[in-house]
C-alpha cells in the first residue's frame, strides 16, 4: 500500500469531501495561497478557488462565529485554527454557541462544522503554541472530539467529521504532519466511537491518544524484550468514547496506563482512568495510572520541555512497576 504523510492525508480528505459536497468550504488564517504555516492545505485553493478556501483576518472568535452561522443555515464549514492554543479565544463561539444550538433549539438547529486544529509539545514553541487542550473541548456536551494517531486515522476521521451533523473538533499533533503511514487509495471512512486495538497484549493495556499511541507502541516494544506483553488501544475519538473496547481490554489484562498529552490534572487521562475504575474495578490488579503532560506551562528550553511529556521509557518504567505489583505514584 502507498504511504503518505499525515499532512497529505488531511489534505486528501478535505479535497475529496469538497469535491463530493459543494456546501463544504474551508476558512481560516492563511489557508489559501499559504496553505497554513504547516502547508497542510497546500493546493486546495488552486482546485477550489478563493470562494471555497477563504483567507480570514486574524479574528479567531469572528471567523469561528461565521462558521457556526454558516453551518446553522446550510453550509458545512471546515475552520482552520492555526494553533490549538487559540481555542481559548474561541471558547464562546465553540462552547456556548456551536455546542448548544442543537440542544437549546430542541433539535431544530444543527451545526455541521469541523474545527481542525493541533496539539503537541517538544517543538520549542513555548507556552502559547504547544498546548494540548482537547480536555477543555471534550468537557463540553455537544461537541465531538477526534484525535488521529496516524495518516490513516487522519484521513478517515476527517471525512467522517465533515459528514457529521454536529460540531467536531479534530486535534492533529503538529509534530506528526510529516509522519508517513499506509493509506489506501480507495475511499474509506472511520466511524466515530470505535477504538482501534493497535497491538494485542495480555499483561497491561496502554490506552493512548494521538501521538501518544506511538509512545505507547515504543514502550510496548521495550517491554516485549522483558517478557511483558502490552496491549495498545487508540480510542480515535474521545467524544464519543468507545468504552466497551477499553473495558474489555482492561478486564483481560487487569492493568492499565492512560496516556494523553494534555495536562494530567482534570484531563482526558483522568476521565478514562475514572471510568475504568468505576466499571472494571474488580478486574484490576493494580491502580489505573494517568500519564499526561506535566502540570506546568510548556517551557521553552529543550532541557525543560522534554521532561514535561510522556516518553516510551517513562511508560515502560511505570508498566514494569504495575506488573511487579508495586504501588507507585504516577509519573
Amino acid at each position: 500500500m502507498r504511504e503518505i504523510t499525515l499532512s497529505q492525508a488531511v489534505n486528501e480528505a478535505i479535497a475529496e469531501e469538497m469535491r463530493r459536497d459543494p456546501t463544504v468550504f474551508l476558512m481560516g488564517e492563511d489557508v489559501a495561497e499559504a496553505g497554513t504555516p504547516f502547508k497542510v492545505l497546500s493546493g486546495l485553493v488552486e482546485e477550489f478557488g478563493t470562494d471555497r478556501v477563504l483567507d480570514t483576518p486574524i479574528s479567531e472568535p469572528g471567523f469561528v462565529g461565521l462558521a457556526v452561522g454558516a453551518a446553522m443555515t446550510g453550509a458545512r464549514p471546515i475552520v482552520d485554527l492555526m494553533f490549538g492554543d487559540f481555542i481559548y479565544l474561541v471558547m464562546d463561539q465553540l462552547c456556548n454557541q456551536a455546542a448548544k444550538q442543537h440542544y437549546m433549539s430542541g433539535g431544530k438547529l444543527t451545526v455541521p462544522m469541523v474545527l481542525r486544529t493541533n496539539i503537541g509539545a517538544t517543538r520549542r514553541s513555548a507556552a502559547q503554541h504547544s498546548q494540548s487542550l482537547q480536555a477543555l473541548v471534550a468537557h463540553i456536551p455537544g461537541v465531538k472530539v477526534a484525535m488521529p494517531s496516524s495518516a490513516y486515522e487522519a484521513k478517515g476521521l476527517m471525512k467522517t467529521a465533515i459528514r457529521d451533523n454536529n460540531p467536531v473538533v479534530i486535534f492533529e499533533d503538529k509534530l506528526m504532519y510529516q509522519d508517513k503511514a499506509p493509506v489506501p487509495e480507495e475511499e474509506y471512512l472511520i466511524p466515530f466511537g470505535e477504538a482501534h486495538i493497535k497491538r494485542e497484549g495480555s499483561d497491561i493495556t496502554f490506552i493512548a491518544t494521538s501521538s501518544m499511541v506511538q509512545v505507547a507502541e515504543k514502550a510496548a516494544a521495550l517491554l516485549d524484550a522483558e517478557g511483558i506483553s502490552a496491549e495498545v488501544i487508540d480510542p480515535r475519538t474521545i467524544v464519543p468514547l468507545d468504552e466497551a473496547t477499553l473495558l474489555a481490554s482492561v478486564k483481560k489484562t487487569s492493568r492499565a496506563i492512560v496516556i494523553d498529552e494534555g495536562h494530567q490534572s482534570y484531563g482526558v487521562t483522568a476521565e478514562i482512568a475514572s471510568r475504568l475504575n468505576e466499571k472494571a474495578f474488580y478486574h484490576l490488579d493494580a491502580p489505573v495510572l494517568r500519564m499526561g503532560a506535566m502540570d506546568v506551562p510548556v517551557p521553552f528550553s529543550p532541557a525543560l520541555e522534554d521532561i514535561t511529556v510522556p516518553t516510551p521509557e517513562g511508560v515502560a518504567a511505570n508498566a514494569r512497576k504495575l506488573c511487579a505489583g508495586e504501588m507507585i505514584h504516577a509519573a
Binding site: F63, L66, T73, S105, G142
Partner: protein, 329 residues
C-alpha cells in the same frame, strides 16, 4: 416592498400590539410565579422589530437577543409555542429546552435568541456568508443592543462582512441602557462612526416610528440582496421595563420622569394608532377590535401553555447530538 396599503399597515399595527400583549402576559406570568426563571421585556421597542421584520421574508434570517420576544413575534412566531417555551413545556418552540432566552423559530427564519450579549453576531454574519457562497439572495438581520457594541466580536465580524460585501444588516437597538448602566457611560464616541470606520453605510433612525424603520429597512434589504451590503442601523428606542422583569426599583439608574416621558409622548403603538385613525386607514372601533382579538389570542395561548405537559424526563439527554438519540444511553 414598502408597506403602503391598508392591509400592510394594519398588519404592522397588529404585530406591534401582539408584542406588547405577549410581554404583558409574560410579565404577569413572572409576577404570579408561574414562569420559571426571569425574562427580559421588549415593551417599548416594538416598532424596531416590526419595522424591520416586515421588510423580510421567511427565507431571510434574523438572530435575536436575550430581549428577544419581540423579534420572535415580528418574524412570525405563534403565541402558543412561545408561551409553552417560556413555561418549559414540551410543545414550546424548543421543547422547553431553551426558554425565553433561546427561543428559535427556524420555520420563520429566526435563528434564535442568544443569552450571550453580542453572541449571535458571528452567527448572523456566517448566515450571510453562506448566502453569498451559495448564491442565495436572502438577507440576515443581526439584532443586538447598545450594550453589545462593547463586544470585540462585533468589530471582527463587521470587518469580514465589509471585506466580503455580505448581505447582513446590523441592527443596534439603542434603548439607552446597557443593563443597569447608561449607554453614555459605556460607549465612547459615536456608535455609527464605528461601523463607518469599516466602510459600512450607517443610519440612525427613530426606533419609535415603525414606518420610518420599515421604509429604510426595505431599501437596505433590497440593496443587500444585490450584494451592496452590509449595512448598519442604530435604532433609537426605549425599554419600558427594567433590564429584566425582576429589575423593579431602578431609580438609581433612571428616573420615573424619563420613563413617563417615553411612554406618554413617544410610544410606538400609540403613535401609529393615531396615524392610522388620522389617515382614515382604520377607525377607533377597528383598532379596538384588533386589540381585543390579540388579547384573546394571548389569554387563550397562556391558558393552553399552563395546561400543557412538561417534556418527559427521558428527553433530558436528547438533542445533545443530532445523530444520537440519547447521548447518555
Amino acid at each position: 416592498m414598502t408597506k403602503t396599503n391598508t392591509e400592510d399597515y394594519l398588519r404592522m399595527y397588529t404585530q406591534m400590539v401582539r408584542i406588547r400583549t405577549f410581554e404583558d402576559n409574560a410579565n404577569q406570568l413572572y409576577l404570579s410565579a408561574k414562569m420559571p426563571g426571569l425574562t427580559h421585556m421588549y415593551s417599548g421597542e416594538e416598532a424596531v422589530a416590526v419595522g424591520i421584520c416586515e421588510a423580510l421574508t421567511d427565507d431571510d434570517r434574523i438572530t435575536s437577543t436575550h430581549r428577544g420576544h419581540g423579534h420572535c413575534v415580528a418574524k412570525g412566531a405563534e403565541f402558543k409555542e412561545m408561551f409553552c417555551e417560556l413555561l418549559g413545556k414540551a410543545e414550546g418552540y424548543c421543547r422547553g429546552k431553551g426558554g425565553s432566552m433561546h427561543i428559535a423559530d427556524q420555520s420563520h427564519g429566526n435563528l434564535g435568541a442568544n443569552a450571550i450579549v453580542g453572541g449571535s453576531m458571528g452567527i448572523a454574519t456566517g448566515s450571510a456568508l453562506r448566502a453569498k457562497l451559495q448564491g442565495s439572495d436572502d438577507v440576515t438581520v443581526c439584532f443586538f443592543g447598545d450594550g453589545a457594541t462593547a463586544q470585540g466580536l462585533w468589530y471582527e465580524v463587521m470587518n469580514m462582512a465589509a471585506l466580503w460585501n455580505l448581505p447582513v444588516i446590523y441592527a443596534c437597538e439603542n434603548n439607552g441602557y446597557s443593563e443597569y448602566t447608561k449607554t453614555e457611560e459605556i460607549a465612547a464616541g459615536s456608535i455609527t462612526a464605528r461601523a463607518e470606520a469599516f466602510g459600512i453605510e450607517s443610519h440612525q433612525v427613530d426606533g419609535q416610528d415603525v414606518l420610518a424603520v420599515n421604509a429604510l429597512t426595505n431599501k437596505l434589504v433590497a440593496r443587500a440582496r444585490k450584494g451592496e451590503g452590509p449595512f448598519f442601523l442604530e435604532l433609537m428606542t426605549y425599554r419600558y421595563h427594567g433590564h429584566h422583569v425582576g429589575d423593579i426599583n431602578r431609580e438609581y439608574y433612571r428616573s420615573k420622569d424619563e420613563e413617563k416621558d417615553w411612554k406618554e409622548n413617544r410610544d410606538p403603538i400609540v403613535r401609529f394608532r393615531g396615524y392610522l385613525v388620522e389617515q382614515g386607514i382604520a377607525t377607533e372601533d377597528e383598532i379596538e377590535a384588533i386589540n381585543t382579538a390579540v388579547e384573546k389570542d394571548a389569554t387563550d395561548a397562556v391558558a393552553y401553555a399552563e395546561a400543557a405537559a412538561y417534556p418527559d424526563v427521558s428527553e433530558v439527554d436528547m438533542h445533545v447530538f443530532s445523530d444520537i438519540e440519547h447521548a447518555l444511553a
